[in-house]
């Protein structure tokens, strides 16, 4: 299966703990399971993805820091992951050595925020889908990722602080597109409410949703315009159905596996299906 145009999906939010890395690895697995080749790039200096894929930390020369280095000449240090289950997912880890890259980007590199975009242009990555996991801070890695991406997905925890963050993220996105002259601009696929617990008051309030007889329904005593999905629609963006908080994600990461492998048939993972379908549609349409 060969797609016409590579999809480079940047997973971004400017709040910590919104489930970016969880989203990254599970989308990667789901898309790869459909037969597409997927490469994950971790631009996060926390290097937390290693936990989800069961790998030790890598030295600088086998991390994203090497890719962002001035001396990079196209030898992507790709590592195949989950090889017992799939043959088409590769990863380049981030980690502490990205601190050096950050210094390089903000003070030395002429290409600055375009560094990854230029690297892709010079040395195309052989993958149908590239998923970029970013840190919560937008400067500079958020911009680096945005400039290199064709699409953007925004996980958001339905809480007030995170909603503020999402609002600022949209303004940041518009500004960055303008500042870096991203043409065509990366498309925001949508927002995904993540880590949702509908037994938790604030989540119910902000989403305007509640559970009745096991079904998720609109909460009638909340004005629609005061809900997160409404506000997102108002901006002209998609708000995907909720992705529930599940301890199984954490359990799975303890084994370095995605939930799909750790607990096949677990319902929580089906929450991601609409997002996966959207990405597959983009891949097949192009």
């Amino acid at each position: 299966m060969k797609v016409k145009e590579q999809v480079r999906l940047s997973i971004q939010s400017n709040a910590g703990g919104s489930g970016k890395t969880t989203m990254t690895v599970h989308l990667a697995y789901a898309i790869a399971a459909k037969g597409y080749t997927v490469t994950i790039l971790e631009l996060d200096q926390s290097g937390s993805i290693k936990r989800f894929v069961g790998l030790p930390p890598v030295p600088k020369e086998r991390s994203m820091a090497a890719v962002l280095d001035k001396d990079f000449h196209g030898e992507y240090p790709l590592i195949q992951i989950w090889t017992e289950h799939l043959k088409n997912v590769t990863l380049i880890q981030g980690g502490a050595s990205l601190e050096e890259s950050i210094q390089l980007i903000i003070s030395t590199l002429a290409s600055k925020y375009h560094v990854l975009a230029h690297t892709f242009a010079d040395y195309p990555l052989d993958a149908d889908v590239v998923i970029i996991d970013t840190p919560a801070s937008l400067e500079p890695m958020g911009k680096v990722a945005l400039a290199a991406a064709t699409h953007l997905l925004i996980p958001i925890k339905p809480e007030y602080k995170d909603s503020d963050g999402a609002s600022e993220l949209v303004a940041w996105y518009n500004e960055t597109v303008r500042e870096l002259r991203l043409r065509p601009k990366p498309e925001i696929i949508g927002f995904v409410p993540t880590r949702v617990d509908l037994d938790f008051g604030p989540h119910k309030m902000i989403l305007g949703l509640e559970r009745q007889k096991g079904k998720v329904v609109r909460k009638s005593n909340i004005a629609e315009e005061e809900t997160l999905p409404y506000q997102i629609h108002q901006l002209g963006y998609t708000c995907f159905p909720i992705v529930r908080e599940s301890s199984e994600y954490i359990n799975a990461s303890g084994y370095g596996l995605p939930l799909q492998v750790y607990r096949p048939g677990n319902k929580a993972i089906q929450d991601l299906d609409p997002v996966v379908r959207r990405i597959l549609a983009i891949l097949e349409d192009k």
Binding site: I106, S107, T108, A110, S111, K112, H114, H118, A121, D122, Y160, S163, D164, A166, S167, E168, L169, V170, A171, N174, E175, R178, R181, R183, I206, A223, E225, E226, T227, L228, Y230, Q231, Q234, L235, G236
Partner: protein, 415 residues
């Protein structure tokens, strides 16, 4: 509870305002389309880029024809856009195109930019360098310029072919609104400079134009293509002498104000030196690198410049070709040009890598009796070391380093 809760609608005010301003921008889309076209024209070399450009141009021509209609414009009122650095128009292509035009007529109108009289006066100093190169005297050029009312925005090939057919007019649509070419060129440069697809020669030409645009007074008696690189070279030498050249890299990424302050602080002999550095720094270009890698392309022999125009051959390979000078090979200039042309076309057609090019040139030099340079041996390198500028405290370091190497050497020798 006295305090009122802040709802989500208030939370999303920032985002809503930002979205509104984006929509406002979209309404000026024709402008954006044109800027995008201008950018593509400056930078495109890839095939996909060309397709993209072509599509955008047709979109624009159609929209202009719809709004303003097309008209027949006398050819002598039209000239090419002197700020468009890509000037690759192989002759046989123009001829072939002329044949098509004579058989089928002109399908799409060309797009012209009307020149306001006051703009024309301002542009003269700059256009005389690049336009009307076929006319011998400045008076002739000025007379030709007096007729000009339009620059070509798109359709140079159709224009040339039409001229070749002996026609006097061409069907055209007009772009409305004032256009500041050099501002657009400058913007396009800023955004795309660091991509590798702008050839050093094009970059050098653009930079000379940009420097003249910002500081028209620099245009002196001599051609600016030779003056400006010389001034830059002097400025770099001065910075080296003042021991300030190493600060250049750091100054590249600071704000324009900080750059200006640094320049004011550095001790320049002439205002011109400072002005040139200012323009380069504004584009975040390292003046040292422009001095050593980009401006030297302006001095390439004409046959090599032509080779760039028609093939886009990389500068590293051209530098190899440049080694085949008449003087060095003890040939006549015509023979040397011939040899370069021949090997140049081999390089392009066979898509030789730099290492292969080097071998090819070495072979050619060898055939003309020039031996390749011997590589330096380790012993040569050691003999070449110079200690006369060592400070006292460095001497011990050097001594211990040499001793260490000696120990390594002894350890490797069989006992």
């Amino acid at each position: 509870m006295a305090r009122q809760k802040i709802g989500l609608s208030a939370t999303f005010q920032t985002a809503n305002q930002s979205q509104a301003s984006v929509i406002e921008e979209l309404e000026g889309r024709n402008e954006e389309l044109e800027a995008e076209i201008a950018r593509l024209k400056v930078t495109t070399t890839s095939d996909t880029g060309k397709v993209e450009l072509e599509a955008k141009l047709q979109q624009l021509a159609a929209s202009l024809e719809q709004s303003g209609g097309s008209q027949d414009v006398p050819l002598n009122e039209i000239t090419r856009n002197p700020f468009q650095p890509r000037t690759i128009f192989p002759k046989d292509e123009i001829l072939a195109f002329a044949n098509i035009l004579s058989e089928e007529g002109q399908h799409t109108p060309i797009i012209l930019i009307p020149l306001a009289p006051e703009t024309k006066d301002q542009l003269w100093e700059q256009v005389k360098l690049v336009l009307f190169s076929d006319l011998p005297t400045e008076a002739d050029k000025r007379a030709a310029w007096a007729n000009i009312r339009y620059f070509i925005f798109d359709g140079e090939r159709r224009y040339r072919s039409q001229a070749l057919l002996g026609a006097t007019k061409i069907r055209a649509v007009l772009r409305s609104g004032a256009i500041d070419f050099l501002r657009i060129q400058g913007e396009a440069l800023t955004t795309t400079l660091h991509r590798k697809d702008l050839h050093e020669l094009n970059l050098a030409t653009c930079l000379v134009q940009q420097i003249l645009y910002t500081h028209p007074e620099i245009a002196g008696e001599d051609s600016p293509e030779s003056t400006i690189p010389k001034i830059l070279e002097a400025a770099i030498n001065r910075l080296n002498y003042l021991d300030k050249a190493k600060e250049l890299r750091a100054i590249l990424n600071v704000s324009a104000e900080a750059q200006t302050a640094w320049l004011a602080d550095a001790d320049f002999k002439s205002k011109t030196e400072r002005q040139i550095l200012e323009v380069l720094l504004k584009f975040r270009l390292h003046p040292g690198s422009i001095d050593s890698n980009v401006f030297p392309t302006l001095k390439l022999p004409d046959d090599l410049k032509q080779l760039i125009q028609t093939t886009g051959l990389e500068i590293s390979k051209l530098n190899e070709l440049k080694k085949l000078s008449a003087e060095r090979l003890q040939l006549s200039e015509a023979e040397a040009v011939d040899l370069r042309r021949q090997l140049g076309s081999v390089m392009v057609q066979e898509k030789l890598k730099l290492s292969e090019v080097k071998t090819l040139i070495e072979k050619a030099l060898f055939e003309h009796g020039i031996q390749p340079k011997k590589k330096k041996t380790a012993a040569d390198q050691i003999r070449g070391l110079k200690f006369d500028k060592l400070k006292l405290e460095e001497m011990n370091d050097v001594r211990s380093a040499l001793e260490q190497k000696l120990v390594e050497l002894q350890a490797m020798q069989p006992t």
